[in-house]
């Protein structure tokens, strides 16, 4: 345990620092400075305009046969399971992974920093998208949130994520993926109050071809990210 303590403290300190940065973000000229220089400023709290259980609202996902079978099994489980034993990992407070964390029905905040874009999610996860040109880490261990790097293409932030584990679902109906998942997100402000995100999902082990889906997010100028402790009320009986 001891050898993990410094890392734990570091992560905790980073999380609180980012939270403080976020709280002061709307008032602080320092927090806004990097974004006003060369790139669009996406600072603020964003919330999905329309929530759907399926990430693909039209047509069937182009799944490999084994993944299609698993998806059908999970879809049945989520509609027939005991309410106290939900099969969805998110309902058991497991991190939602990328990209699902973006389109859960919870708000998230963007904070711009010098070398990264930071996303603070109400589900108590901080996502860091490095924009300093460092590229993906070598031999990255698969994790829930993966390894994200970003670059600006004009007014669009392009985020490339790899290094994801296969423990998460892509939607609330259980759309599966593997650790070969590669996600490209293109975020663009279509007007002051609207952010458009285009998600391209490429996972040759689970899908027969790459596919893309779009989501719109509304700016919520009066909101801030609050504490949300998913596991708090584990036992109520």
């Amino acid at each position: 345990m001891k050898k993990y303590l410094p890392a734990t403290i570091l992560v905790t300190a980073l999380t609180f620092s980012l939270a403080l940065l976020a709280q002061n973000g709307q008032r602080s000229a320092v927090a806004k400075a990097p974004a006003t220089s060369a790139h669009p400023d996406f600072s603020g709290v964003w919330f999905e305009r329309e929530y759907h259980r399926n990430i693909l609202s039209e047509g069937n996902p182009p799944l490999q046969p084994w993944a299609d079978e698993l998806y059908k099994k999970r879809k049945l489980e989520v509609t027939t399971s005991d309410p106290d034993h939900p099969p969805d990992p998110v309902a058991r407070c497991i991190p939602p992974g990328v990209p699902r964390i973006m389109y859960l029905p919870f708000p998230w905040e963007i904070v711009h920093a010098r070398d990264r874009v930071v996303m603070i999610f109400e589900v108590q996860i901080v996502r860091q998208i490095f924009t300093d040109g460092r590229g993906h880490a070598k031999d990255v261990d698969p994790t829930y949130m993966g390894d994200s790097v970003g670059k600006w293409e004009g007014d669009t932030l392009v985020i490339d994520t790899v290094g994801l584990n296969d423990k998460t679902w892509l939607d609330a109906n259980g759309l599966p993926h593997t650790d070969a998942l590669h996600v490209v997100e293109r975020l663009r402000r279509v007007d002051h109050d609207t952010l458009k995100a285009e998600f391209t999902i490429d996972d040759p082990k689970a899908f027969t071809k790459a596919w893309t889906v779009e989501k719109l997010f509304d700016l919520k100028p009066d909101w801030h990210i609050k504490e949300y402790v998913c596991a708090e009320d584990n036992e109520i009986k």
Partner: protein, 134 residues
């Protein structure tokens, strides 16, 4: 097994035990095509993540009382649409409309709460009902 290992085993067992009674319910657990209304007395109002709960004593036509568990969204989302932790207290008379659990348990996914003074509150969120905790 030494004491430390025994304590660890116990801690893990307790952790797994609490997980098995997990109370974070997916919307799919409820029959969202059905809507029922219950009137009753608030036994307990729990302003707790990830869901807010109203434990409601509901009297049937024969006079016997059943306790229903009414599930609303998280305090975070509800506070953005006017709820507060002091919205209700034990003994208050309220009416709730929502979807019952598919498995027949006395659990309701709240759509609308009506207080004794007639004030109504959305039980899930915003944007026309979007914003449910899954």
């Amino acid at each position: 097994m030494n004491k430390a290992a025994a304590a660890l085993t116990l801690a893990v067992s307790l952790l797994l035990g609490s997980y098995s009674a997990f109370a974070h319910h997916a919307r799919a657990s409820f029959d969202v095509d059905r809507s029922i209304t219950l009137k009753g007395t608030v036994a307990n109002f729990k302003w707790t993540n990830p869901h807010t709960f109203i434990f409601l004593d509901v009297k049937d036509e024969k006079g016997s009382v059943d306790e229903w568990r009414i599930e609303a969204n998280s305090p975070n989302m509800l506070s953005r649409i006017g709820w507060t932790r002091e919205l209700m207290k034990s003994g208050d008379q309220v009416s709730v409309t929502g979807s019952p659990a598919k498995d027949g348990e006395k659990i309701l996914r709240l759509e609308t709460l009506t207080l004794a003074n007639g004030q109504k509150f959305d039980g899930q969120g915003i944007n026309g009902g979007v914003g449910h905790a899954e």
